[in-house]
């Protein structure tokens, strides 16, 4: 299947993406994840200023038929959440790597990025799922 993958982002096995600039990690869910979920109808956003650990569940994304847990790709403090998702959760379906971003995290330990996959590794990982 021709799933879209952003070349410069990092990825988790749970299909979150992360884009790190300076010490801020912007995260969301991948094209594969939004396609599997279908129409996103609700996003339970984390509290701003809350602390999260790497791979800790901190967001819930609901589609018409089911709810899915979303995990923090990096540990740190949640500095900003995408409030547009409250009224327009479909942004995740329309533009998962752009306007459908979910949260920004102030990264505590940059070394944790070694626990994530590159675009190429994620592409191979997706291939291994089918």
């Amino acid at each position: 299947m021709g799933m879209e993958i952003e070349e410069n982002f990092l990825y988790t096995k749970e299909h979150e993406w992360v884009s790190i600039e300076d010490n801020i990690a912007t995260m969301g869910i991948t094209d594969y994840a939004q396609e599997a979920l279908g129409d996103v109808t609700y996003v339970e956003l984390p509290e701003e200023e809350s602390e999260v650990e790497q791979f800790e569940q901190f967001v819930s994304v609901e589609s018409v038929k089911a709810a899915s847990d979303i995990y923090a790709p990096m540990a740190g403090k949640v500095t900003e959440v995408n409030r547009k998702l409250e009224d327009t959760p479909a942004l995740i379906n329309k533009d998962c790597y752009g306007k459908g971003w979910i949260a920004k995290i102030e990264v505590r330990d940059m070394d944790e990025s070694t626990n994530l996959m590159s675009a190429e590794e994620y592409r191979n990982y997706l291939d291994s799922l089918h």
Binding site: G38, D39, T41, Y42, E62, V64, A66, P89
Partner: protein
């Protein structure tokens, strides 16, 4: 795509895959979940006309007098007074008053009946009929030679009358025998969506031809079981395995209207002897967060008062909606309740059925 070989296929399984459907197992059958987005399919069904493959459902043919055959004792609804070519919804119960299945009785002749049942229950239902129909009564499980297509939506009549002019005269919950492209079909004005619609029963081997003929109409789109569930929850229709099962009394499940209190059907005494401690209730989430089957229901004082049996996001209300068994004193419309678990609860308001009030069902 992986194919579960333990699942039955309808005559359209290949056609669904060719149309790009996501397939899922449902009630022992390999069925289309969705062809495009569920929200887009919802919009199409509520505004135009959508075609569902419901060939997985079961059809039993029975010949005999309603009372002498034993049929009248098996089903909860009155049938002796049914006009010819009418349908009537009801259920059949076990000796404890639990629901074996919900069903629709079609009266094809004075002594000629078709019973339509849920796919997952075909075998156990057939056993129940064979055990309780009187000797000499003709019974046939025609489920694997009778296909069913549902054409539903406000424009369904306009679409279908081009192919079958006679259907324009069908009133709600009636049926007749027709020819569609030269194929004999039984068509009823029934459905499970809350919209004007028709169920087309046809020979298994001719189903694909009828499916393709109807889909050539520009306004009709194929639609999967995913949206079918959203549509039925918006209408507060019960689904076996969710609101109904062998432990649930039809009075708890809100089927009172479909029970003939004057006849001695199987399970009648048990039903009237059973205390009704909980009943089915309906509620609307105060946010876009949707309740899910298995969520617990709490009152404003944090007392657990019930359990969610069905929940979904409602595109009509742009909010979560739920159906569940609730303490009978806590289900008056307007009361605030909460759904979820001990740690994570979301607010909802008890509602009156149906959630969706603008359907074209009886237009």
């Amino acid at each position: 795509m992986t194919v579960d070989t333990n699942l039955h296929n309808t005559p359209l399984a290949d056609a669904h895959v060719a149309l790009g459907a996501k397939m899922v197992g449902f009630g022992g059958w390999n069925m289309p979940l969705q062809y495009e987005s569920i929200l887009a399919e919802w919009e199409h069904n509520r505004k135009t006309a959508s075609l569902f493959d419901c060939s997985h459902m079961g059809e039993f043919m029975i010949k005999g007098d309603a009372k002498e055959s034993g049929l009248d004792r098996i089903v909860t609804q009155p049938i002796t007074d049914m006009p010819l070519n009418s349908c009537r919804y009801g259920a059949m119960l076990n000796d404890n008053g639990g629901v074996i299945d919900d069903l629709i009785v079609y009266r094809k002749g004075p002594q000629d009946w078709m019973i339509v049942v849920n796919a997952a229950n075909i075998e156990k239902n057939a056993r129940h009929f064979r055990a309780h129909l009187n000797a000499g009564t003709y019974f046939e499980d025609a489920s694997f030679k009778t296909a069913k297509l549902d054409l539903q939506g406000p424009q369904s009549r306009d679409v279908l009358k081009v192919l079958v002019p006679g259907i324009a005269k069908l009133s709600y919950y009636t049926f007749d025998q027709f020819q569609l492209s030269g194929i004999p079909c039984l068509i009823s004005r029934t459905g499970y969506t809350g919209e004007l619609g028709f169920e087309i029963y046809c020979p298994w081997e001719k189903c694909k031809e009828i499916w393709q003929t109807i889909l050539t109409h520009a306004t009709v789109k194929p639609t999967g079981l995913g949206v079918r569930d959203v549509l039925r929850v918006e209408m507060c229709y019960s689904l076996y395995g969710h609101e109904l099962d062998e432990t649930v009394s039809p009075l708890e499940a809100g089927l009172d209207k479909f029970i003939d209190g004057h006849k001695d059907f199987i399970g009648a005494k048990a039903v009237s002897a059973r205390p009704v401690r909980r009943t089915i209730g309906y509620f609307t989430s105060t946010s876009r967060k949707s309740p899910r089957a298995g969520n617990r229901i709490f009152d404003a004082g944090n007392q657990e008062i019930g359990i969610v049996t069905s929940g979904t996001f409602s595109p009509a209300l742009q909010a979560g909606i739920g159906i569940g068994f609730m303490d009978r004193h806590s289900k008056d419309a307007g009361i605030e309740i909460f759904f979820g678990d001990e740690k994570n609860k979301a607010a909802a308001i008890v509602a009156k059925r149906p959630f969706y009030k603008n359907g074209s069902l009886k237009s």
